[in-house]
Symmetry: C2
């Protein structure tokens, strides 16, 4: 199913398609169209058809897409037809909110470990998890086989944490610390920084 | 200073440049180059020079960029040489973490109001703020003149909240709910959804 050389910008749109389709499915819908998806997402119908056509033949001219079939295929393409265990580093406000967040369940992810370096936090509970000492993080992650992690520590220690995660065999990092990370090219990094998004909008405000 | 018709993708990179430059400035640095910035951000030096040249002449061939001067100019271009008050809607885990987050201070934003519709939360304190009843949100926001808001409510109520925010005069929305919003074209929306970022990475994992 997976094709080589799909542009990353196309890959980046697939999760948006999947999210909208899963929502329609939850609402009991069975069929949709590239027009409807496009209106919901602010993406042209032609773009959506072109993106999906790179992975297969999912709809018929005039009859639209079968939502369940497309959901299953997109989950397969994005490798979320399985559940990825996730390690969270940082048990402050953001890390704790992530660890308690219920919304990953049907989207392919399950937070299964949380680490911190603060003796006051180590051993306490965050949701159903005991906060573990981040000194043992690389070993614990390697032993567990976890490949996906989220960093929710201050900017000043985020690079150090990333280095440890890479040592532990992590292959994908979602970084909430407001700093760019240096990782080996085979490790994926994505960033969440609300101020970046806000500034991108205030550019357009008077 | 502000030019018309700058592509949105260029605008989207400016906050990343600003963040890196502010960090260098905090470290006591005075001069940088497009090469150094590019290495930190994983963006080519040529791209950075081209992006910045659309807004003015900020560096000299061979001597690089004066960090403080470029920070001031980027802050001006992005309209964060002022502080924007921000309303947060939703006083759950995510909304509370945002309201308590200290990292907006030097980046142009100040959370100044938090709303919820849950009687158990209304009137309680989140950081320094009293949670206000979201029934009065549109009026309270209009009275305050706030233009920027963050939505941290469940997907099922996010559109309703967005409609109220627009009624209150909000012009920029950062949406943490995992759903696409319909807003008038003059209102900016940006999204934060960790599962979207995670799925974009698992595509590349085996």
């Amino acid at each position: 199913m997976q094709q080589k050389n799909i542009p990353d910008i196309v890959v980046g749109r697939l999760p948006l398609y999947l999210r909208s389709l899963q929502r329609m499915s939850q609402e009991g819908r069975q069929v949709t169209s590239s027009q409807e998806l496009g209106e919901k997402l602010g993406i042209s119908a032609a773009q959506i058809r072109k993106d999906l056509s790179q992975f297969g033949e999912f709809g018929k001219q005039g009859t639209g897409y079968n939502i369940e079939y497309l959901v299953e295929n997109l989950q397969h393409i994005l490798h979320v037809d399985r559940t990825w265990d996730v390690a969270v580093v940082g048990a402050g406000d953001i890390g704790s909110a992530i660890a308690r967040y219920q919304g990953f369940a049907n989207r392919g992810f399950f937070v299964s470990m949380i680490f911190d370096n603060d003796p006051v936090r180590i051993g306490t509970k965050v949701g159903p998890f005991i906060v573990q000492d981040s000194r043992n993080m690389a070993e614990a992650i390697r032993a567990s086989g976890i490949k996906v992690a989220m960093i929710a520590v201050p900017a000043s220690t985020a690079q150090e944490v990333a280095d440890e995660l890479v040592k532990g065999g992590i292959q994908a990092v979602l970084n909430y610390a407001p700093i760019s990370l240096n990782v080996p090219p085979e490790v994926q990094v994505q960033y969440i920084d609300p101020a970046i998004h806000l500034q991108r909008m205030t550019y357009y405000l008077g």
